[in-house]
């Protein structure tokens, strides 16, 4: 903190609350008695509603005659529109963020019972790993690195690299760092972690468009994945994060296209978030968080202001957050919330207000 800030704070600290503020209870708005008016019009509204439903049913039930143009030939059926042909979004038909859904138990669990775990992510048991001591730099395009134990930072400096069945135990700022220009990095069946006692800030730092993380286990770092554009995290486990001022499982601060699907993201530290979607550095568009188990953090999911086109569907939230399951500052349009539920009892989780 600067001394100027200190000085300004001191100036404000000297200000006492005036007694007039104590009169706030007189400003509490009493509920307005509108019920009588509503009751007066209720029978009319119900009548109109029933009439409308009957009319609509009658119209639908009436067999449609093929349209015959003046020339006498029958016109072909109108082809379905693109909207009608498009598959529905994951979970169910997406509802807009402002829609209200009743709090009821779901009849169908929204997500798979088999969550990614220690046994389904990371290096498969029995894989023989060769050790690469210290940092590893990959600068050959299309290179496949597999069956390695790397005891340092992996820096990816070339496009189309694949890291497979590799355990990375880092002690620097990054465990895996994708440099600008090193597009389309894929990581499969790998484990990314910080060395015991080390303060590794980033598990995977995306620095170029295109990052695929499949069946990976990221743990022991302050921030699991710092995502950018075209990032996909599937069937992966991000947990056992290290306490810091902003611990986060998956964070993005601008870009297009982040998908977190069928993954487990848990932040068991007191602060931060499990998934943070911000537009700090650039506009953030097209985010899909689907069929995943999310938990912990101050807010488990924090969607900042200025995000457009985000779909949050079919996820389960644990009750381990400190402030709430979701903090949502983004405004519609284009934002969808559907089929999300509490993890412990499957009760539907309403869209954030």
């Amino acid at each position: 903190m600067t001394s100027e800030e200190d000085l300004l704070k001191q100036l404000f600290q000297e200000v006492a609350v005036p007694a007039k503020v104590d009169q706030w209870p007189t400003r509490v708005r009493r509920p307005v008695r509108r019920q009588t008016r509503v009751r007066r019009f209720t029978p009319v509204l119900v009548g109109l509603l029933i009439g409308g439903v009957l009319l609509t049913t009658a119209v639908i039930a009436t067999p449609r005659q093929p349209h015959t143009p003046p020339g006498g030939t029958t016109s072909p059926d109108t082809p379905p529109t693109a909207d009608a042909m498009a598959p529905s979004a994951p979970g169910s038909s997406p509802s807009q963020m402002n829609s209200k859904t009743p709090t009821t138990a779901l009849t169908t669990p929204p997500t798979s019972a088999a969550w990614p775990s220690d046994s389904t992510t990371g290096v498969p048991a029995g894989t023989a790993l060769r050790t690469h001591p210290g940092d590893l730099r990959i600068d050959k395009a299309g290179q496949v690195v597999s069956d390695l134990l790397v005891t340092g930072t992996v820096t990816v400096a070339a496009p189309n690299v694949i890291i497979r069945r590799t355990r990375i135990v880092a002690s620097g700022q990054f465990a895996v760092r994708q440099l600008p220009g090193a597009t389309n990095l894929a990581m499969e069946d790998s484990e990314v972690s910080g060395k015991n006692g080390a303060s590794v800030q980033y598990g995977i730092m995306q620095g170029a468009a295109g990052l695929d993380v499949r069946r990976c286990h990221v743990h022991g770092v302050q921030q699991g994945v710092e995502a950018g554009s075209e990032a996909r995290i599937t069937d992966s486990l991000i947990d056992r994060l290290v306490q810091s001022s902003s611990t986060t499982g998956v964070a993005t601060r601008g870009g297009t296209g982040l998908t977190v699907r069928h993954s487990v993201v848990l932040n068991s530290t007191a602060g931060g978030t499990a998934i943070a979607v911000y537009a700090d550095n650039a506009p953030q568009r097209t985010v899909i968080i689907d069929s995943s188990l999310l938990g912990g953090g101050r807010y488990t999911l924090h969607v900042g202001a200025g995000i457009t086109d985000i779909t949050v569907s079919g996820n389960r939230f644990t009750r381990s957050n400190n402030a709430g399951p979701v903090r949502w500052d983004a405004a519609p349009p284009g934002n969808r919330w559907s089929g999300n539920a509490w993890h412990d009892n499957g009760t539907r989780l309403d869209p954030p207000a």
């Binding site: 600290q13 609350v17 706030w24 902003s246 068991s268 911000y278 400190n322």
Partner: protein, 182 residues
């Protein structure tokens, strides 16, 4: 996995009685309101409105103990925005009907109350009014309400890093006003 999920599950804490909440948080909320509207009388009104609105929503919202102040300040921020909007509308109406600016909004009573502030604080408040609304909000949250950068970010819906940078820039612009650079 089940053990892991259970390990991070914690029981929700009971709500703080609203009276205690008011006693604990009315100073930072009032100071924030003062930083936003400058006029002590308006700040009192705004603060009272904040707690009245908070009282109505408290049971429904159930903010956790660490999130109470950011929650109150979000209400206060919205109140301040509404206040400035109303002021602008009133000024426009006054101009339209009387073809002149409305008289100074500070009444005698306000002036008497203002002199109880240190002159330095009055100057800070005056200069804050010359800042853009966002900068004024950032400075109000950080300096008047004494929030951490994380809490500032929480009120504004931005990350801690973005809150830190934006607040520093806002403080620099306030400093520039002092130095006559803008």
């Amino acid at each position: 996995m089940r053990e892991l999920v259970e390990a991070v599950d914690v029981a929700a804490e009971d709500l703080l009685p609203f009276g205690d909440l008011y006693r604990q948080y009315s100073p930072p909320v009032y100071r924030f309101c003062l930083s936003q509207v400058r006029n002590p009388s308006d700040a009192e009104d705004l603060t009272a409105d904040v707690f009245a609105a908070a009282f109505v929503a408290y049971e429904r919202t159930r903010p956790d103990i660490d999130g109470v102040l950011p929650w109150l300040l979000r209400i206060a921020r919205n109140g301040a925005i509404d206040h400035h909007r109303r002021q602008a509308t009133r000024r426009m109406a006054f101009l339209r009907w009387f073809q002149r600016n409305e008289p100074s909004e500070a009444s005698t009573a306000d002036v008497e109350r203002e002199v109880t502030f240190r002159s330095e604080l009055r100057e800070v408040l005056d200069r804050c009014q010359r800042l853009k609304a966002r900068d004024r909000t950032l400075i109000g949250l950080r300096v008047a309400a004494d929030l951490s950068f994380q809490e500032v970010g929480e009120v504004l819906g931005i990350s801690e890093h973005a809150a830190t940078m934006a607040t520093k820039r806002a403080l620099q612009r306030l400093r520039d006003l002092y130095e006559g650079q803008s």
